[in-house]
Subunit: 208 residues, 2 copies
DNA sequence: CGAGCAGGTTACCAGGCGGTAACATACGGT
DNA sequence: ACCGTATGTTACCGCCTGGTAACCTGCTCG
Protein backbone atom coordinates (compact mmCIF):
# COMPACT_ATOMS: atom_id res chain seq x y z
CA UNK A 1 0.00 0.00 0.00
CA UNK A 2 2.96 2.28 0.34
CA UNK A 3 4.43 4.06 -2.70
CA UNK A 4 7.51 1.89 -2.28
CA UNK A 5 9.90 4.41 -3.75
CA UNK A 6 9.53 4.14 -7.49
CA UNK A 7 12.97 4.47 -8.94
CA UNK A 8 13.57 6.57 -12.01
CA UNK A 9 16.44 4.79 -13.64
CA UNK A 10 19.16 2.50 -12.45
CA UNK A 11 18.45 3.31 -8.83
CA UNK A 12 19.14 0.84 -6.07
CA UNK A 13 15.87 0.25 -4.16
CA UNK A 14 14.72 -2.53 -6.51
CA UNK A 15 11.24 -3.13 -5.18
CA UNK A 16 8.53 -4.82 -7.14
CA UNK A 17 6.06 -2.58 -8.85
CA UNK A 18 2.49 -3.19 -9.85
CA UNK A 19 1.92 -3.80 -13.53
CA UNK A 20 0.52 -0.33 -14.04
CA UNK A 21 3.29 1.41 -12.17
CA UNK A 22 5.92 -0.56 -14.03
CA UNK A 23 4.35 0.11 -17.38
CA UNK A 24 4.23 3.80 -16.64
CA UNK A 25 7.85 3.87 -15.50
CA UNK A 26 8.96 1.99 -18.60
CA UNK A 27 7.11 4.39 -20.84
CA UNK A 28 8.84 7.32 -19.21
CA UNK A 29 12.30 5.84 -19.37
CA UNK A 30 11.79 4.63 -22.92
CA UNK A 31 10.46 7.99 -24.03
CA UNK A 32 13.52 9.77 -22.78
CA UNK A 33 16.04 7.31 -24.16
CA UNK A 34 14.47 6.84 -27.56
CA UNK A 35 14.24 10.59 -27.89
CA UNK A 36 17.91 10.88 -27.09
CA UNK A 37 19.37 8.00 -29.06
CA UNK A 38 16.83 7.29 -31.76
CA UNK A 39 15.17 4.01 -32.58
CA UNK A 40 18.28 2.26 -33.83
CA UNK A 41 20.53 3.84 -31.26
CA UNK A 42 18.89 2.12 -28.33
CA UNK A 43 18.63 -1.61 -27.78
CA UNK A 44 15.97 -3.27 -25.69
CA UNK A 45 18.69 -4.51 -23.39
CA UNK A 46 20.04 -1.03 -22.79
CA UNK A 47 16.54 0.18 -22.16
CA UNK A 48 15.87 -2.60 -19.69
CA UNK A 49 19.11 -1.89 -17.85
CA UNK A 50 18.38 1.80 -17.65
CA UNK A 51 14.99 1.03 -16.16
CA UNK A 52 16.62 -1.30 -13.62
CA UNK A 53 14.81 -4.30 -14.98
CA UNK A 54 15.46 -7.34 -17.17
CA UNK A 55 14.53 -7.65 -20.80
CA UNK A 56 11.54 -9.98 -20.53
CA UNK A 57 9.81 -7.45 -18.34
CA UNK A 58 9.74 -5.13 -21.31
CA UNK A 59 8.07 -7.79 -23.37
CA UNK A 60 5.54 -8.37 -20.63
CA UNK A 61 4.29 -4.85 -21.24
CA UNK A 62 4.94 -4.25 -24.91
CA UNK A 63 4.74 -6.72 -27.75
CA UNK A 64 7.79 -5.48 -29.62
CA UNK A 65 10.33 -2.73 -29.83
CA UNK A 66 8.62 -1.29 -32.84
CA UNK A 67 5.25 -1.12 -31.17
CA UNK A 68 6.70 0.43 -28.08
CA UNK A 69 8.35 3.11 -30.15
CA UNK A 70 5.25 3.71 -32.20
CA UNK A 71 3.12 4.07 -29.10
CA UNK A 72 5.50 6.64 -27.68
CA UNK A 73 5.50 8.48 -30.95
CA UNK A 74 1.75 8.53 -31.28
CA UNK A 75 1.58 9.92 -27.80
CA UNK A 76 4.02 12.69 -28.60
CA UNK A 77 2.09 13.48 -31.75
CA UNK A 78 -1.16 13.68 -29.87
CA UNK A 79 0.43 15.99 -27.34
CA UNK A 80 1.70 18.28 -30.06
CA UNK A 81 -1.55 18.38 -31.95
CA UNK A 82 -3.45 19.10 -28.82
CA UNK A 83 -1.27 22.07 -27.92
CA UNK A 84 -1.47 23.52 -31.40
CA UNK A 85 -5.21 23.12 -31.69
CA UNK A 86 -5.68 24.68 -28.30
CA UNK A 87 -3.77 27.72 -29.47
CA UNK A 88 -5.83 27.97 -32.64
CA UNK A 89 -9.18 27.50 -30.97
CA UNK A 90 -8.47 29.66 -27.95
CA UNK A 91 -9.16 32.89 -29.74
CA UNK A 92 -10.73 34.40 -32.82
CA UNK A 93 -7.99 36.92 -33.36
CA UNK A 94 -5.80 35.56 -36.12
CA UNK A 95 -2.80 37.52 -34.98
CA UNK A 96 -3.10 35.89 -31.58
CA UNK A 97 -3.55 32.53 -33.23
CA UNK A 98 -0.26 32.88 -35.04
CA UNK A 99 1.56 33.90 -31.90
CA UNK A 100 -0.12 31.21 -29.85
CA UNK A 101 0.69 28.46 -32.31
CA UNK A 102 4.31 29.51 -32.54
CA UNK A 103 4.55 29.59 -28.77
CA UNK A 104 3.01 26.12 -28.68
CA UNK A 105 5.73 24.83 -30.99
CA UNK A 106 8.37 26.36 -28.75
CA UNK A 107 6.88 24.73 -25.69
CA UNK A 108 6.58 21.40 -27.38
CA UNK A 109 10.12 21.39 -28.70
CA UNK A 110 11.45 21.95 -25.20
CA UNK A 111 9.96 18.61 -24.27
CA UNK A 112 12.58 16.05 -25.20
CA UNK A 113 9.92 13.67 -26.45
CA UNK A 114 9.50 15.96 -29.42
CA UNK A 115 12.64 14.33 -30.78
CA UNK A 116 10.62 11.19 -31.28
CA UNK A 117 8.71 12.99 -33.96
CA UNK A 118 11.57 14.71 -35.73
CA UNK A 119 13.68 11.59 -35.65
CA UNK A 120 10.92 9.64 -37.33
CA UNK A 121 11.72 11.09 -40.72
CA UNK A 122 14.37 8.46 -41.01
CA UNK A 123 11.95 6.67 -43.33
CA UNK A 124 12.72 3.57 -41.32
CA UNK A 125 9.14 2.69 -40.68
CA UNK A 126 6.38 3.62 -43.08
CA UNK A 127 3.91 3.64 -40.21
CA UNK A 128 6.01 6.13 -38.30
CA UNK A 129 6.40 8.33 -41.32
CA UNK A 130 2.71 8.18 -42.05
CA UNK A 131 1.73 9.04 -38.51
CA UNK A 132 3.86 12.16 -38.54
CA UNK A 133 2.72 13.16 -41.97
CA UNK A 134 -0.90 12.68 -41.07
CA UNK A 135 -0.51 14.89 -38.04
CA UNK A 136 1.22 17.53 -40.11
CA UNK A 137 -1.48 17.28 -42.70
CA UNK A 138 -4.21 17.74 -40.14
CA UNK A 139 -2.68 20.83 -38.59
CA UNK A 140 -1.83 22.25 -41.97
CA UNK A 141 -5.47 21.67 -42.87
CA UNK A 142 -6.63 23.61 -39.83
CA UNK A 143 -4.21 26.45 -40.38
CA UNK A 144 -4.81 26.41 -44.09
CA UNK A 145 -8.51 26.80 -43.62
CA UNK A 146 -8.02 29.92 -41.53
CA UNK A 147 -5.65 31.33 -44.10
CA UNK A 148 -7.90 30.49 -46.99
CA UNK A 149 -10.84 32.14 -45.30
CA UNK A 150 -9.21 35.43 -44.86
CA UNK A 151 -7.09 35.58 -47.92
CA UNK A 152 -9.30 33.93 -50.48
CA UNK A 153 -6.73 31.37 -51.53
CA UNK A 154 -7.36 27.93 -52.95
CA UNK A 155 -6.62 24.83 -50.91
CA UNK A 156 -3.30 24.13 -52.55
CA UNK A 157 -1.89 27.58 -51.92
CA UNK A 158 -3.23 27.62 -48.39
CA UNK A 159 -1.69 24.23 -47.72
CA UNK A 160 1.65 25.44 -48.99
CA UNK A 161 1.57 28.50 -46.77
CA UNK A 162 0.48 26.52 -43.76
CA UNK A 163 3.30 24.05 -44.27
CA UNK A 164 5.76 26.88 -44.70
CA UNK A 165 4.63 28.37 -41.41
CA UNK A 166 4.98 25.03 -39.67
CA UNK A 167 8.50 24.74 -41.00
CA UNK A 168 9.26 28.24 -39.86
CA UNK A 169 8.01 27.55 -36.36
CA UNK A 170 9.55 24.12 -35.84
CA UNK A 171 12.98 24.90 -37.21
CA UNK A 172 13.19 28.17 -35.34
CA UNK A 173 12.04 26.48 -32.15
CA UNK A 174 14.61 23.73 -32.50
CA UNK A 175 17.32 26.25 -33.17
CA UNK A 176 16.29 28.25 -30.18
CA UNK A 177 16.38 25.30 -27.80
CA UNK A 178 19.92 24.60 -28.95
CA UNK A 179 21.10 28.19 -28.83
CA UNK A 180 19.25 29.99 -26.10
CA UNK A 181 22.25 29.63 -23.83
CA UNK A 182 24.79 31.36 -26.03
CA UNK A 183 22.37 33.81 -27.61
CA UNK A 184 20.73 35.61 -24.72
CA UNK A 185 17.32 35.62 -26.33
CA UNK A 186 14.41 34.65 -24.18
CA UNK A 187 11.57 32.56 -25.41
CA UNK A 188 8.91 35.24 -25.29
CA UNK A 189 11.06 37.56 -27.33
CA UNK A 190 11.86 34.89 -29.88
CA UNK A 191 8.19 34.04 -30.22
CA UNK A 192 7.30 37.68 -30.69
CA UNK A 193 9.96 38.05 -33.35
CA UNK A 194 8.73 35.10 -35.32
CA UNK A 195 5.11 36.10 -34.96
CA UNK A 196 5.93 39.42 -36.43
CA UNK A 197 7.69 37.78 -39.34
CA UNK A 198 4.84 35.38 -39.96
CA UNK A 199 2.05 37.85 -39.46
CA UNK A 200 3.47 40.50 -41.69
CA UNK A 201 4.20 37.87 -44.27
CA UNK A 202 0.65 36.64 -44.19
CA UNK A 203 -0.55 40.20 -44.49
CA UNK A 204 0.49 40.22 -48.10
CA UNK A 205 -2.27 37.72 -48.81
CA UNK A 206 -5.03 39.51 -46.99
CA UNK A 207 -8.17 39.67 -49.07
CA UNK A 208 -9.37 43.07 -47.98
CA UNK B 1 38.48 0.43 -75.27
CA UNK B 2 34.75 0.24 -75.83
CA UNK B 3 32.33 1.71 -73.25
CA UNK B 4 31.39 -1.85 -72.43
CA UNK B 5 27.81 -1.00 -71.50
CA UNK B 6 27.97 0.25 -67.95
CA UNK B 7 24.94 -1.14 -66.23
CA UNK B 8 22.94 0.94 -63.84
CA UNK B 9 21.63 -1.63 -61.43
CA UNK B 10 21.02 -5.35 -61.56
CA UNK B 11 21.51 -5.40 -65.29
CA UNK B 12 22.68 -8.51 -67.06
CA UNK B 13 25.75 -7.54 -69.09
CA UNK B 14 28.15 -8.08 -66.18
CA UNK B 15 31.28 -6.71 -67.66
CA UNK B 16 34.27 -5.66 -65.65
CA UNK B 17 34.63 -2.00 -64.94
CA UNK B 18 37.69 0.05 -64.20
CA UNK B 19 38.18 1.05 -60.60
CA UNK B 20 37.08 4.59 -61.28
CA UNK B 21 34.01 3.60 -63.23
CA UNK B 22 33.02 1.10 -60.59
CA UNK B 23 33.50 3.57 -57.80
CA UNK B 24 31.39 6.11 -59.60
CA UNK B 25 28.65 3.60 -60.28
CA UNK B 26 28.63 2.47 -56.67
CA UNK B 27 28.36 6.03 -55.44
CA UNK B 28 25.38 6.64 -57.67
CA UNK B 29 23.55 3.48 -56.70
CA UNK B 30 24.35 3.98 -53.02
CA UNK B 31 23.21 7.58 -53.10
CA UNK B 32 19.85 6.61 -54.48
CA UNK B 33 19.26 3.69 -52.18
CA UNK B 34 20.43 5.33 -48.98
CA UNK B 35 18.27 8.32 -49.79
CA UNK B 36 15.31 6.03 -50.25
CA UNK B 37 15.75 3.62 -47.37
CA UNK B 38 17.88 5.47 -44.87
CA UNK B 39 21.12 4.33 -43.30
CA UNK B 40 19.63 1.51 -41.27
CA UNK B 41 17.16 0.52 -43.91
CA UNK B 42 19.79 -0.60 -46.38
CA UNK B 43 22.36 -3.32 -45.84
CA UNK B 44 25.66 -3.53 -47.60
CA UNK B 45 24.54 -6.80 -49.12
CA UNK B 46 21.39 -5.27 -50.56
CA UNK B 47 23.45 -2.43 -51.91
CA UNK B 48 25.95 -4.80 -53.49
CA UNK B 49 23.17 -6.82 -55.09
CA UNK B 50 21.50 -3.72 -56.46
CA UNK B 51 24.77 -2.67 -58.01
CA UNK B 52 25.18 -6.12 -59.54
CA UNK B 53 28.31 -6.83 -57.59
CA UNK B 54 29.45 -8.78 -54.53
CA UNK B 55 30.00 -7.33 -51.09
CA UNK B 56 33.80 -7.27 -50.99
CA UNK B 57 33.81 -5.02 -54.02
CA UNK B 58 32.12 -2.39 -51.90
CA UNK B 59 34.86 -2.68 -49.33
CA UNK B 60 37.45 -2.38 -52.04
CA UNK B 61 36.22 1.13 -52.64
CA UNK B 62 34.96 2.27 -49.26
CA UNK B 63 36.34 1.44 -45.84
CA UNK B 64 33.00 1.04 -44.10
CA UNK B 65 29.30 1.56 -44.43
CA UNK B 66 29.44 4.56 -42.18
CA UNK B 67 32.16 6.26 -44.20
CA UNK B 68 30.39 5.58 -47.45
CA UNK B 69 27.23 7.14 -46.08
CA UNK B 70 29.07 10.10 -44.64
CA UNK B 71 30.85 10.73 -47.91
CA UNK B 72 27.55 10.73 -49.77
CA UNK B 73 26.08 13.05 -47.20
CA UNK B 74 28.95 15.49 -47.31
CA UNK B 75 28.58 15.57 -51.04
CA UNK B 76 24.89 16.34 -50.83
CA UNK B 77 25.57 19.03 -48.27
CA UNK B 78 28.20 20.62 -50.46
CA UNK B 79 25.80 20.59 -53.38
CA UNK B 80 23.11 22.29 -51.32
CA UNK B 81 25.40 24.92 -49.91
CA UNK B 82 26.76 25.70 -53.31
CA UNK B 83 23.32 26.26 -54.79
CA UNK B 84 22.21 28.46 -51.93
CA UNK B 85 25.36 30.55 -51.95
CA UNK B 86 25.11 30.99 -55.66
CA UNK B 87 21.62 32.39 -55.22
CA UNK B 88 22.76 34.77 -52.52
CA UNK B 89 25.83 35.99 -54.32
CA UNK B 90 24.27 36.26 -57.74
CA UNK B 91 22.63 39.57 -57.07
CA UNK B 92 22.61 42.56 -54.76
CA UNK B 93 18.88 42.88 -54.71
CA UNK B 94 17.70 41.33 -51.46
CA UNK B 95 14.28 40.57 -52.81
CA UNK B 96 15.87 38.57 -55.58
CA UNK B 97 18.12 36.87 -53.07
CA UNK B 98 15.13 35.62 -51.11
CA UNK B 99 13.42 34.34 -54.20
CA UNK B 100 16.61 32.80 -55.52
CA UNK B 101 17.40 31.03 -52.29
CA UNK B 102 13.90 29.61 -52.01
CA UNK B 103 14.07 28.43 -55.59
CA UNK B 104 17.41 26.82 -54.80
CA UNK B 105 15.83 24.86 -51.96
CA UNK B 106 13.07 23.72 -54.25
CA UNK B 107 15.55 22.53 -56.83
CA UNK B 108 17.65 20.79 -54.29
CA UNK B 109 14.76 18.99 -52.66
CA UNK B 110 13.76 17.55 -56.00
CA UNK B 111 17.07 15.75 -56.06
CA UNK B 112 16.51 12.54 -54.17
CA UNK B 113 19.91 12.81 -52.55
CA UNK B 114 18.52 15.61 -50.43
CA UNK B 115 16.94 12.88 -48.34
CA UNK B 116 20.38 11.98 -47.15
CA UNK B 117 20.48 15.26 -45.32
CA UNK B 118 17.01 15.28 -43.85
CA UNK B 119 17.29 11.69 -42.79
CA UNK B 120 20.49 12.44 -40.92
CA UNK B 121 18.61 13.99 -38.05
CA UNK B 122 18.12 10.52 -36.72
CA UNK B 123 20.87 11.38 -34.23
CA UNK B 124 22.39 8.05 -35.23
CA UNK B 125 25.78 9.45 -35.89
CA UNK B 126 27.11 12.53 -34.17
CA UNK B 127 29.33 13.22 -37.15
CA UNK B 128 26.36 13.18 -39.48
CA UNK B 129 24.37 15.44 -37.23
CA UNK B 130 27.27 17.83 -36.87
CA UNK B 131 27.89 18.01 -40.58
CA UNK B 132 24.30 18.99 -41.25
CA UNK B 133 24.21 21.44 -38.40
CA UNK B 134 27.43 23.06 -39.49
CA UNK B 135 26.09 23.53 -42.98
CA UNK B 136 22.89 25.00 -41.63
CA UNK B 137 24.87 27.25 -39.36
CA UNK B 138 27.00 28.50 -42.22
CA UNK B 139 24.07 29.36 -44.45
CA UNK B 140 22.18 30.87 -41.56
CA UNK B 141 25.28 32.95 -40.92
CA UNK B 142 25.33 34.18 -44.48
CA UNK B 143 21.63 34.93 -44.56
CA UNK B 144 21.73 36.37 -41.06
CA UNK B 145 24.42 38.80 -42.02
CA UNK B 146 22.36 40.16 -44.87
CA UNK B 147 19.36 40.49 -42.61
CA UNK B 148 21.32 42.11 -39.84
CA UNK B 149 22.80 44.62 -42.24
CA UNK B 150 19.54 45.86 -43.44
CA UNK B 151 17.47 45.61 -40.35
CA UNK B 152 19.96 46.50 -37.67
CA UNK B 153 19.40 43.34 -35.66
CA UNK B 154 21.86 41.66 -33.36
CA UNK B 155 23.41 38.34 -34.31
CA UNK B 156 21.07 36.25 -32.19
CA UNK B 157 17.93 37.72 -33.66
CA UNK B 158 19.30 37.55 -37.18
CA UNK B 159 20.26 33.92 -36.64
CA UNK B 160 16.78 33.12 -35.45
CA UNK B 161 15.18 34.75 -38.45
CA UNK B 162 17.58 33.09 -40.85
CA UNK B 163 16.83 29.71 -39.34
CA UNK B 164 13.14 30.37 -39.52
CA UNK B 165 13.43 31.21 -43.20
CA UNK B 166 15.39 28.05 -43.84
CA UNK B 167 12.69 26.04 -42.11
CA UNK B 168 10.06 27.80 -44.16
CA UNK B 169 11.82 27.04 -47.40
CA UNK B 170 12.78 23.43 -46.72
CA UNK B 171 9.48 22.29 -45.30
CA UNK B 172 7.51 24.01 -48.00
CA UNK B 173 9.78 22.55 -50.65
CA UNK B 174 9.44 19.05 -49.25
CA UNK B 175 5.69 19.42 -49.05
CA UNK B 176 5.58 20.63 -52.59
CA UNK B 177 7.58 17.73 -53.98
CA UNK B 178 5.13 15.35 -52.31
CA UNK B 179 1.98 17.20 -53.36
CA UNK B 180 2.59 18.86 -56.68
CA UNK B 181 0.71 16.09 -58.40
CA UNK B 182 -2.58 16.43 -56.53
CA UNK B 183 -2.33 20.18 -56.04
CA UNK B 184 -1.87 21.66 -59.48
CA UNK B 185 0.63 24.24 -58.33
CA UNK B 186 3.72 24.69 -60.39
CA UNK B 187 7.10 25.27 -58.91
CA UNK B 188 7.54 28.82 -60.10
CA UNK B 189 4.22 29.80 -58.62
CA UNK B 190 4.98 28.13 -55.32
CA UNK B 191 8.34 29.86 -55.13
CA UNK B 192 6.74 33.21 -55.86
CA UNK B 193 4.16 32.62 -53.15
CA UNK B 194 6.72 31.80 -50.55
CA UNK B 195 8.98 34.65 -51.56
CA UNK B 196 6.13 37.01 -51.07
CA UNK B 197 5.47 35.59 -47.62
CA UNK B 198 9.10 35.77 -46.63
CA UNK B 199 9.82 39.14 -48.13
CA UNK B 200 6.83 40.86 -46.64
CA UNK B 201 7.61 39.26 -43.32
CA UNK B 202 11.14 40.52 -43.43
CA UNK B 203 9.86 43.93 -44.31
CA UNK B 204 8.66 44.38 -40.76
CA UNK B 205 12.27 44.45 -39.63
CA UNK B 206 13.53 46.94 -42.19
CA UNK B 207 15.67 49.59 -40.55
CA UNK B 208 14.57 52.54 -42.65
C1' DC C 1 51.82 -17.41 -75.54
C1' DG C 2 51.93 -17.07 -70.76
C1' DA C 3 52.42 -14.64 -66.61
C1' DG C 4 50.98 -11.02 -63.63
C1' DC C 5 47.74 -8.13 -61.82
C1' DA C 6 43.42 -5.57 -61.50
C1' DG C 7 38.93 -6.75 -60.77
C1' DG C 8 35.64 -9.99 -58.84
C1' DT C 9 33.58 -14.12 -56.17
C1' DT C 10 32.46 -17.67 -52.56
C1' DA C 11 32.29 -18.73 -48.13
C1' DC C 12 32.82 -17.58 -43.80
C1' DC C 13 33.15 -15.28 -38.94
C1' DA C 14 32.04 -12.62 -34.74
C1' DG C 15 29.03 -9.78 -32.46
C1' DG C 16 24.79 -7.68 -31.49
C1' DC C 17 20.00 -7.73 -31.28
C1' DG C 18 15.05 -8.85 -30.95
C1' DG C 19 12.57 -12.12 -28.79
C1' DT C 20 11.38 -16.33 -25.71
C1' DA C 21 11.19 -20.58 -22.61
C1' DA C 22 11.95 -22.11 -18.25
C1' DC C 23 12.66 -21.13 -13.74
C1' DA C 24 12.60 -18.21 -9.18
C1' DT C 25 10.50 -15.18 -5.58
C1' DA C 26 7.94 -11.68 -3.15
C1' DC C 27 3.23 -10.55 -1.52
C1' DG C 28 -1.64 -10.58 -0.47
C1' DG C 29 -5.76 -13.24 0.78
C1' DT C 30 -7.66 -16.64 3.68
C1' DA D 1 1.20 -20.18 8.24
C1' DC D 2 0.95 -21.01 3.54
C1' DC D 3 -0.19 -21.19 -1.08
C1' DG D 4 -1.25 -19.16 -5.63
C1' DT D 5 -0.32 -15.78 -8.63
C1' DA D 6 1.68 -11.68 -10.31
C1' DT D 7 6.18 -10.09 -10.91
C1' DG D 8 10.83 -10.73 -12.21
C1' DT D 9 15.36 -13.31 -13.61
C1' DT D 10 18.78 -16.29 -16.06
C1' DA D 11 20.03 -18.24 -19.90
C1' DC D 12 19.42 -19.04 -24.30
C1' DC D 13 18.22 -19.06 -29.62
C1' DG D 14 18.29 -17.70 -34.41
C1' DC D 15 19.02 -14.29 -37.49
C1' DC D 16 20.96 -10.54 -39.64
C1' DT D 17 24.69 -7.64 -40.61
C1' DG D 18 29.20 -5.48 -41.08
C1' DG D 19 33.43 -6.97 -42.35
C1' DT D 20 37.23 -10.28 -44.09
C1' DA D 21 40.29 -14.24 -45.83
C1' DA D 22 41.14 -17.01 -49.45
C1' DC D 23 40.54 -17.97 -53.97
C1' DC D 24 39.39 -17.29 -59.05
C1' DT D 25 39.53 -15.09 -63.94
C1' DG D 26 40.18 -12.74 -67.93
C1' DC D 27 42.51 -8.71 -69.98
C1' DT D 28 46.97 -6.83 -71.36
C1' DC D 29 51.54 -6.52 -72.57
C1' DG D 30 56.28 -8.24 -73.18
Amino acid sequence: MEPRAVVGRAGEPRTRLSAQERRQQLLEVAGGLFAEHGFHGLSMEQLADAAGVSKPVLYQHFPSKRELYLALMQDAIAEMESQIRKALEGTRDNRARVEGAIAAYFDFVEDRRSRLIFGAYEAADPDARDAVEEANRRTAEAVGQLIAEDAGLDRAAAGLLATALRGLATEAARWWTDHDADAGLDKAKAVRFLSRLAWRGLGSFQKD
